[in-house]
Symmetry: C2
Subunit: 433 residues, 2 copies
Amino acid sequence: MTAKRQIHLGLFLQGAGHHVSGWRHPNAEAGSENFDLLRRVAQEAEKAKFDMIFLADGLTSGVDAHPSMIARFEPLTLLSALAMVTERIGLAATASTTYGEPYHLARAFSSIDHLSHGRAAWNIVTTSYARTANNFSKSHPEHDERYAVAQEFVDVVRGLWDSWDDDAFPKNKESGVYADPNKVHVLDHVGKYFSVKGPLNIPRSPQGHPVLIQAGSSGPGQDLAARTADIVFTAQQSLGEAQAFYKSLKERVAKFGRNPNGVAVMPGFLPVVGRTLAEASEKLIELDKWTDVVGALPLLEERLGHSLSGYDLDGPLPDLPISDQLRSRAELLTALARRENLTIRQLALRVAAGRGHHMIIGTAEDIANRMQEWFENGAADGFNVMPPYFPGGLEEFNAQVVPILQERGLYRRDYVGTTLRDHLGLTRPNLPA
Amino acid sequence: MTAKRQIHLGLFLQGAGHHVSGWRHPNAEAGSENFDLLRRVAQEAEKAKFDMIFLADGLTSGVDAHPSMIARFEPLTLLSALAMVTERIGLAATASTTYGEPYHLARAFSSIDHLSHGRAAWNIVTTSYARTANNFSKSHPEHDERYAVAQEFVDVVRGLWDSWDDDAFPKNKESGVYADPNKVHVLDHVGKYFSVKGPLNIPRSPQGHPVLIQAGSSGPGQDLAARTADIVFTAQQSLGEAQAFYKSLKERVAKFGRNPNGVAVMPGFLPVVGRTLAEASEKLIELDKWTDVVGALPLLEERLGHSLSGYDLDGPLPDLPISDQLRSRAELLTALARRENLTIRQLALRVAAGRGHHMIIGTAEDIANRMQEWFENGAADGFNVMPPYFPGGLEEFNAQVVPILQERGLYRRDYVGTTLRDHLGLTRPNLPA
């Protein structure tokens, strides 16, 4: 809608904050079942004209987990509730293709797209943690098979979303025609992993297809993104790494015959804002001080797929074979430890703070500069903002960083359209001829 | 909460109305993706102090289906949205144990119970129509196996709901204790159909357990209800049949060691209200006149599990073997046809009007009398009200029938408590010791 390319912003919404100790900050209101907090935060993000809020997910729990992940709302029901208390902001939720059914997911996201008048997005993930299988009466598939399942899953969902023409329901009281029998398309999908006949039992939704987000960074993950995604969510630690990923991803998009400008790459981005650099650093030191490294160790071990017991916390990260299941995550953290020469303790604190996402500590000016640098140098089309604590961390970002981006013409002052596709500059997909 | 036994009311909410031609009525606003209509109807039911609204469901679609079932919102996302625009009314949705996963369903209903501050209910069903399997990459289980699966499914869900003590999340900023490791209960369920370790990733919900509704009337269905349900939804055509079902069900409840008064039997109930009996009859004749019997025939055939092609529409229902899959539904309709000596055409019209539920045509007084008769003579503890069209059909019921029930002291004038359990007079379940 706007001629000039602008930064897209997602708010990564986690009840207890992104920093593992964020919930202990004086300006934090934990957390897990606090809908009133989530409602205010979503409204605050809408006031700052974010493209979307973004809900992560997981299908296990335990007291060892990150506080934002021990307990949380089921994302689709939460999204639906947030649709009622917001008007313009996009609404994205994560749902796994490893432990779900395409018919159920196609329906639920279409339903949210209807309820929100065209603001729904699905973050397509495969489930990496094998222990999830314990909650679903089956065994956990290997990495590459998970992505093969995901590809087919997404194809089925998109096919189901095209079950009905946009004008398939005349509901004509005179003629008695409720649904037009010539405007229904039976999918009749029979594939390697799924057999789904259709049609879906809900009309085509306002966006045609809810927006698709993809968050896997392995080769198969990038292929899935390049083939299907409108937004790519990724974890990148440095400008160089982010540029390499951006280039590789956009090339893959072109290889699949799609327009690289139609896919927004949005790395995670954890801002720690202070009036001075010293104040921002002090804030992080305080958060880290509250972090029990022994308690944070399981978060690191989980991402590496290995126990670190027996190793010196103040020694270097040992050479560990990289688990196939956790490939991109483990590689990212290992590279980070090597590059910055981090001890196990330091790496555990980094994971506790940002789980491998890019953290920037500084003044609002510093943070805006870094965003502009990545945006203008082929590293990002936008960011998934991850405040360390809620609601304070978002309020600070909105009050201090957003106005700078707006003054520089890098970010919208108001919404132009009404749907998430409008915010992203994406057209509504036509039905296949 | 009230000393005197009172009628419980559910509103069976179908976008296009219960009568197959209801959507063509001048006071109808079809329907399928009309959230604004559903919102107003839910608020109207709350104004009339209904215990709950009730959403049916199905996992297939086709232009031959009942207009309320060709296309509709996914019930859990819809319920969540309705939770935001209502304050006291209970919120019940149907979800199948045949094509779902206990971990997903336990989460979603717990989430809605949190979002609604204790108003969620799950209508437990098994999926009877074998064609549903075509949308879920698997084969359809037989009737008795479906109920065996359902029993275990419900046990797992209830176990997951008890994953955390009510005070398991101190979230103490001083001590740093977010979740208390002594207050989590790992389920470790290993059964014939499901292996689910737990814990669930959401705190115990306001009602402890969302209210359980069961709607199968076969022997295994009644056993499932007697063992687990707080509400039994059933289709009963006459006072005598309803009394027999009520007695049988309450006896089964006692056999399972539960208090029969803790389970509310609520038959479906389709009111056609007029200022005079003639006006009400005229209204039904008009609705039936809009009904294309040939178009309605598939609804009857689906419920009987047999084609009727080749039979004289104006002749009697032939003797057909009763399909195991559809046992209780097919038996009910066959008995109705025999008792009232209905032709195939007449039976098809009945199904088109009320799908086998008790229909009463008359003045508000007639309708209130029938409700009182069933309520006071061991046939019902309440009713699932099924207006033939929306919003007009509900508005008439609320304006004309509800005040009579209130004047007679048979029905509340206002809510006393805040949760659905409060409305039903049910206590909150304790965690198992």
